[in-house]
């Protein structure tokens, strides 16, 4: 019986373990230094805000692991002997290292928060937010804080801002770009989210860069910006992205660059060693995808794929139409396909925003055949399956808009926007007269 050892108990490692158990009888060991059990790292913010406790973020009850014969080791791996397929590891709470041999090793070791060598970045009260230890640190570091500064305007930055606002801590966000997250969002969406951030009492400073973090004793006492402006603060969140956690492989035979290099089958350069999730860098990324893609969903899909490869047939990593989601304070965001920040040549875009400025829809499509290539939805829920079908099936923007009701996923009685969206499109695209199809919901007829 083969022994599969999985390093990391995040979504990719645990998905791999679950599917390997589904497909086989192999011995499975999962090693993690972070927590004993798998929990949803995307829910860290909710623990801090008091929406949930740590135990609520565990997707499986504790008996699950024994029942499914998945051995959990709460331990640190100190050394990798890939030639002899042996790991040296120290169990949490002990200091005597032991060894563990494997037949197959899956590396799902995740990311580390970026730090760009700012003066003062290692002071007390300066931190990123990625893992459970970061959450514990944030609990301690934000105690009694009056003002916090968050450096970086991405998904983790806005989460951190929301978290700190629930404790009535004044938050200043320093964002290098012209608009919030405008490396990903087009300017209209970026502006809308920026407005919403300010609505929540966050002092959002665009086109502002950090120069240094100043100390007050051991702790952070303030920040200095590139424009010379100074700001007192007792907490600094560094949320300028994450990078694959590859430091531990530096002096090993494992080939790394930005991340652990893998082929289409998620195989590393070493036999029987696979890598999945955040730590991966694809040698040949699937079409239209980035070599390093640190997203919950792609981690999960890699876990499914690697399990299939190990237990059944060698299977390529084949994510479908790109999708992702987030929530910016109260505005939910879903994206399907490719919606780059700048509309590429040969593409057109359509944007509709509700007058209240918290609901919006963006459609990118090709100029010639008008095939839809990407969709962004804000404050409006769309059906994943339908959006994927449209993009995969290269349906035209006209087809999509006339079938917009098929993608509706908001709860019952919610105000429907299909009519307004189609009207807006027809108004600006005189060569089209799109008619909204489908059956309006009963309530739409009553109140529409």
């Amino acid at each position: 019986m083969k022994h599969v050892v999985i390093l990391g108990n995040g979504i990719s490692g645990i998905t791999a373990a679950r599917y390997i158990r589904k497909y086989s009888d192999y011995r499975i060991t999962v090693i993690s230094a972070e927590t004993e059990h798998f929990f949803s790292r995307t829910a860290l913010m909710y623990i801090y805000m008091g929406h949930m406790k740590y135990e609520h973020t565990k997707p499986y009850e504790d008996y699950f692991w024994e029942k499914n014969r998945i051995e959990l080791r709460h331990a640190w791996v100190q050394a990798f002997d890939f030639a002899n397929k042996t790991l040296t590891l120290t169990e949490q709470g002990t200091d005597v290292p032991g060894t563990l041999t494997y037949d197959i090793l899956i590396l799902g070791v995740g990311s580390v928060s970026n730090r760009f060598g700012w003066p003062g970045q290692d002071l007390e009260g300066v931190q990123g937010l990625y893992n459970y230890q970061d959450l514990e640190a944030m609990e301690a570091n934000s105690e009694g804080v009056e003002r916090a500064v968050i450096v970086g305007g991405g998904l983790i930055g806005i989460e951190m801002a929301e978290m700190l606002r629930t404790r009535d801590i004044a938050v200043t966000m320093l964002v290098r770009e012209k608009e919030f997250w405008d490396a990903v969002l087009q300017v209209e969406e970026a502006k809308m989210i920026g407005r919403h951030i300010r609505e929540h009492g966050v002092d959002l400073r665009l086109v502002t860069e950090l120069e240094e973090i100043t100390a007050q004793g051991e702790r952070v006492g303030g920040v200095v910006m590139k424009n010379g402006e100074k700001l007192d603060c007792q907490f600094v969140g560094l949320t300028v992205g994450v990078s694959p956690n590859i430091e531990q492989f530096r002096d090993t035979e494992l080939e790394t660059e930005k991340g652990i290099l893998v082929n289409r089958f998620l195989e590393t350069n070493l036999p029987d060693v696979y890598a999945i999730g955040d730590c991966v860098q694809h040698r040949e990324p699937p079409e239209g995808r980035k070599p390093v893609e640190q997203i919950w969903y792609t981690g999960r899909i890699m876990g499914e794929t690697v399990a299939r490869s190990i237990c059944q047939a060698k299977t390529q990593y084949q994510p479908g139409v790109f999708f992702n989601s987030a929530k910016f304070f109260d505005i939910e965001y879903q994206t399907y396909g490719q919606v780059p920040a700048q509309v590429p040549a040969g593409f057109q875009t359509f944007y509709w925003e509700h007058a209240e400025g918290r609901i919006a829809l963006r459609i990118n499509y090709r100029s010639g055949n008008e095939a839809v290539t990407g969709i962004n939805a804000f404050g409006m829920r769309l059906r994943h399956e339908v959006c994927e079908k449209w993009i995969k099936g290269k349906k035209s923007v006209g087809y999509m808009l006339s079938h917009l009701r098929d993608a509706h996923f908001d709860p019952e009685f919610f105000k429907r926007h299909e009519k307004a969206i189609v009207r807006a499109f027809n108004k600006t695209h005189h060569d089209h007269t799109i008619r909204l199809g489908g059956r309006p919901a009963f309530w739409e007829k009553v109140f529409g």
Binding site: M49, S325, D410, P411, F413
Partner: protein, 518 residues
Amino acid sequence: MTAVQKIGLTLFSMGFAIWIVTLSLGQCTLTPDILSDTTLIKKEHYELIRASAAPMLGKTYTTAFSFGNAFRGAVDEVNQKFRDQQQYDKVIYDNYAFPVTKAASVGAITEYTALWFWLSIGLAIVGALMYIFPKKRLLPGIKNDHIFHHPATSRGWLGILLGTFLILFYVVLYFYPEYIVNWVILVDPISRALNGGPASQWFLYGFLYSLCILVMGVRMIIKYRHSPYQQIRSVSVMFFQTSFAFLIPEILVRLNRPYYDFKNMWPLDYDFFFDYNLNQMLSNGTLGLFMLVWGIALFVLAVPIFTYIYGKRWYCSWVCGCGGLAETLGDPHRQLSDKSMRAWKIERYTVHGVLVFAIVMTAFVLYTYFTGQSNIGPIDSYSVRSAYGFYIGSIFSGIVGVGFYPLMGNRVWCRFGCPLAAYLGLVQRFRSRFRITTNGGQCISCGNCSTYCEMGIDVRAYAQKGQDIVRASCVGCGICSAVCPRGVLNLENADPDSRVMIAPEVMVGNDMPKIRKR
């Protein structure tokens, strides 16, 4: 917290404290007139009680507690004699302590009833609304901040205190109503205005129940003002409680008609087929007959038809009074339900067990009604009936069902005990268009849905696999969908056969080839 909210909280606490204090107001004095009042004490019992109650005459008791205890003692004394002589048929089972204590009450509470009403309940309402309304300032959206940090909502000291109060309240209401005559006196004027008679402890209970649903319903509407589903649903339970459960039955009584709640349904309304209820309906002409037919049609026709179309939510979280209280007063405690597999196993035994008990009990009652025989074999139908009333009707649905809100979540009764929920659940599970769909591969397993499921369903377990949530217990409150930060969950009705009961082999968003089952 704003200044208005702070004042509101202070006023509410003051009102609540004064309400407790009102229990000690006034005095009680027993007069011969009260003792011989046949509307209070049956004539045959008056003769028996008179002697043992004689020492109480003219004596002033400073509280309803001491008076109630003394009078209860007087009746017990009579009963003890009968028991000693083994004359069990003569034992007095009527609760005379409550009506006599109420009649004997004099002083501040009876003279200044309106004043004390407004100082206690009135002040509490004003305070509560002052606390609730400023939340409109917050931007619309899910606002669950600090729920697990607050002692009232995380089984902390305040939650335990609140639970203790609720449990005590139900124990006193069911078994020692004479202790709370002053509260009943406070709502006497309202009772007279509605049904023309004085209030009983049940009128007080109905009044407070409706009040809680209304005030906390306003809170729901404000808290979920980004969600029309939650708002309309809250208005629905507020409407059904105030009209169907509270006002209409009182007006029927005023018109000399049987007390009837047109939305209450057997087997939740477990005494529907009790002899006195059947007799009352049958002796009330067309209206009475209509009530009987309506009551039967509800559970024979409405349950299968509406549950097929909408799921059990049409009743449990839109119409039902127990559901109404759970969804309003109980909303702050919904996250305390147990989501473990163990709890689900226990739930399936208890809730279906109560359903079987209710059916057997009703069968006994009807057998006795039609044949006139009180025994089936060695079992006496009256003791089955009173056992059900005591253990299920009082202890389970009241003391445990509501008293444990702050400890075990707001649907303890609905989940573990309600026989109607069990019946609706069977229809929903096996033949209904209702399901909660999951949105492709968008779940991030965060756990908000499971945490805020009042019925203790591990919603996430389904969502992260891409499987529809089809569960007998789901009351369709829609909170899982509301708290989901990724728009994954949606309550939908469609062809029953289109429900995704088995998780897809490969979820949406992964183009890995599917392997056909060999």
